[in-house]
Symmetry: C2
Subunit: 512 residues, 2 copies
């Protein structure tokens, strides 16, 4: 066995089943090892940002890492911004990057880059391998590190992949849990019992079913409000679950909301800060007087702590019905499509158990409130703010959950960044429906120009926000995606219904 084979074998033994890959010369031994007995399933992506975004989506759905295989520094660079989103999502990812042969790297060949510096910007753990005989255990350590909800990057020189390697069986360290911190739970219980205006702020894995239902129990007992972090990596949502108010993206709105509380209990969420530092608007969204209790580190699953808290305050075993969202769908709209109507059509039709990836940016504000009572579904959002997450994340979610439909609600401005994702959706016959808000504009930039005081942009600034000229139907078809346009609510409803029953990827250009 050579080093590359040891890496693939270790990955397999650690439970890795899929590799999102865009390999080159220095990863050829790993490519060949994909066909070893017990090898893993490679999924080719035609751009590295698709690989990393897909691995993020996969990890969010399965709470386990996929492997990502990238070519040298340039490949890692191309995948970096979706690794940033994965880092902000606390997703477990194992990124294997090929490096030049150990004896060749000092010659600074054309493709050489400082891979370590690039990797350090998103990796919670990273290692450049120095001996072929350790490659198997290096991989096991990378997987173990990733399970601490972070990106683990293994940089593997070409010659070491080809050198002989003795198999060693090592199990990954899966010790991700920590006992809840009972001092913190006491403190939180005390805060919740007081006659104050309090809220429980959920984030990370507490936004799954168990965490949400536990939060509902606590609300039942104490009357506290339930808030969610602004951009959850994954949130279960719909009828039978408590309605969660997401902390708004607009900092003034967030400050206003949070100012109503005397105390906040954080479970799996960080203290909220503004996305950007605007003049005259605070960066910290909480004022100093607000008492805060942090139940657990956001990089740990805080659900256990939440359950202990519910038990400690004597919450009922099940929340009463009035705390949980009742089944409801928005009425089906009619006529010429608008952002609001498009959201209503989606919320009216989305099936139970659908995975919704939301990279609709300005339109996401409209969609969320419409979905409180729809059949339960999973929502994945843009954690790190780096555009191009949607189409790639949808690939990973669909690979992770082949039996669940995936809808990517996609702003056109953000849609072009990883548009190569459509090709992989076709290649792997994934049940992804991409819904493009075609408003032909970087609307968020228009808002920001107005905030800066530019209400009527000059010709150059206006040119920076104008996205006209993309025919998404033709673009989808160019990669083999069944594609159509919708200009009315009825057309969208018809197209979406069709897309959801047919096998394979679909795209609908929603003309706004």
């Amino acid at each position: 066995m050579n080093g590359a084979q040891a890496i693939i074998l270790s990955a397999k033994q650690c439970g890795i089943e899929v590799c999102f890959a865009n390999p080159g010369t220095t990863e050829i031994p790993l490519v060949a090892a994909f066909d070893d007995p017990g090898g893993i399933r490679p999924v080719l992506c035609l751009y590295e940002g698709v690989c990393t975004g897909a691995a993020d989506g996969y990890a969010r759905m399965l709470d386990k890492p996929a492997m990502v295989l990238l070519h040298l520094g340039p490949g890692l660079a191309n995948g970096l911004s979706n690794l940033h989103n994965a880092r902000r999502a606390h997703s477990p990812l194992v990124v294997v990057v090929g490096e030049h042969s150990t004896w060749h790297r000092p010659l600074d060949p054309p493709l050489a880059m400082d891979i370590e510096s690039i990797a350090s910007s998103t990796s919670g753990w990273q290692r450049t391998c120095i001996s072929s005989s350790n490659l198997g255990s290096d991989m096991v350590e990378a997987v173990s590190a990733s399970l601490k909800c972070q990106v683990a990057t293994l940089i593997v020189p070409y010659d070491l992949q080809m050198a002989p390697c003795v198999e060693k069986k090592i199990s990954p360290d899966e010790s991700r849990g920590r006992a809840p911190d009972y001092l913190k739970i006491d403190e939180a219980a005390e805060v919740l019992r007081m006659d104050n205006k309090t809220a429980l702020v959920l984030g990370g894995r507490t936004l799954r079913r168990e965490g949400l239902l536990t939060a509902a129990r606590i609300r039942n007992a104490c009357g506290c409000d339930l808030l969610a972090e602004c951009f959850p990596a994954r949130m279960e949502r719909g009828s039978g679950l408590p309605e969660m108010t997401r902390i708004p993206y607009i900092p003034e709105m967030a400050v206003d909301l949070l100012s109503h509380y005397d105390a906040l209990v954080f479970a799996g969420a960080d203290e909220p800060v503004a996305f950007f530092g605007y003049a005259g608007v605070p960066g910290r969204l909480l004022n100093e007087k607000t008492k805060r209790v942090h139940l657990a580190d956001p990089r740990r699953d805080a659900t256990k702590a939440l359950v202990s808290l519910a038990d400690m305050i004597g919450a009922p075993a099940y929340a009463t019905k009035d705390i949980l969202a009742q089944p409801s769908r928005p009425a089906m709209p009619a006529g010429k499509l608008s952002g609001q109507k498009a959201c209503s059509v989606i919320a009216a039709l989305q099936p139970e158990d659908v995975v919704v990836v939301d990279e609709s940016i300005t339109n996401s504000i409209l969609y969320y409130p419409l979905t409180a009572g729809v059949p339960p579904f999973t929502l994945l959002t843009l954690t790190g703010g780096s555009l191009g997450q949607g189409p790639a994340c949808a690939v990973g979610a669909a690979v992770a959950c082949p039996d669940r439909p995936v809808i990517d609600i996609q702003a056109d401005g953000a849609g072009m960044y990883t548009i190569q994702s459509l090709w992989t959706q076709v290649r792997e016959n994934l049940n992804v429906t991409t819904l493009i808000y075609s408003n032909r504009s970087y609307d968020i930039l228009k808002l920001e120009l107005a905030r800066y005081g530019v209400i009527a942009p000059g010709p150059n600034a206006a040119k920076m926000t104008d996205l006209s000229g993309i025919d998404w139907v033709s673009l989808g078809r160019s990669m083999g995606v069944s594609s159509a346009a919708a200009s009315t609510a009825e057309e969208l409803a018809q197209g979406l219904s069709k897309a959801l029953v047919e096998q394979g990827p679909h795209l609908i250009q929603m003309n706004l």
Copy 2:
């Protein structure tokens, strides 16, 4: 005036005319300043790799920097791999990256990344601005640094862009030249005068007309061979210029070629090393016995030194005709298209003064020898090996030279990486013709698998090289590019002729 306005004014005063931009919230003041009197022309790209590749192409054609405007760490990350190519091309580039407000950055907001670490991988010069009153002079220093043939990165916090700034007039330091090193020239002259087998290896700016004609004079006087670096940033080529043998990409072939020489004189080129470190193949392509003389640092224009060398050895003022390529075109082929026939059609039809961007990877070996005697043209190649250079570089070359046609000879495997370039080609009405070698395969990976010993790849490895399923005609049209397919030499000839006379971008899918 605020800091953003000072940056744009300084850029303008330093001669910057164009900004390839993909801005976000933290660059809004700079976007607004584009409309100031004396502002610069912004060119919107729908992906950051297009911005940086375009700026590289622009710099190669004009020997002066364009500005690149990117959004925070994720924007820089997305542009990084084409910055790598620009670094390897020794192109002058000024990259302005927005950063969070100085007081907001410590809060680690969602979009925060370690921009400095990322930038360090490609920047020869970088600075994070700390005072608004210096932004104008910071920009002047960035331009000065870029003129030393490198990427200069200026990281500009949002609040500083908005803060007041007093205009200061500072001129850029354009001292890029250095007097030739006469000791080295003496040494080179001595080597060339000896009765040995010698070659002159040209690179960088010596591959322009003056350098090439000077090299021809030297060959006339000494009988030395003329070699060029493997992947020139820019090379003038065609009838009336000396034929240059490029050092082969395949290391065994390069070693064989170079082994024939007792001595090499390098002018503007680095000593060649293999692209990859293969077992049993040397990384350094020159053997130890070969004498080498380096006329000048490859990051400096070595043309002056070359001229001094020619004069010192008493070369004739003009090379005789037999040293220069005579006008010749390959015969126009007929019938079903192949890689070889496609190259012949292009070489048979390409007009004088065309700029050819060559990212055809495996097919580039076929094209180059056919163009020795075609009407003089400019060739831009993939300096850093990072895929996705072609379509973006073509954007920049066309913006730099609006009166010259641009042809991007494009491998389909590399074509998807910065496919968003087509949109900017349409938006700016650029005379770019993209010729896609549609062989539906990462052919270079098949070669590398065979080299590794995998002649019949297993199903997983085979999946990694199969690119089928892209309809490039539909893809081109989706962004408004006039697009067609060609399956025969005649169809290609007809399509290319049409593309070259019509205004605006064209695309031809060459079915191989």
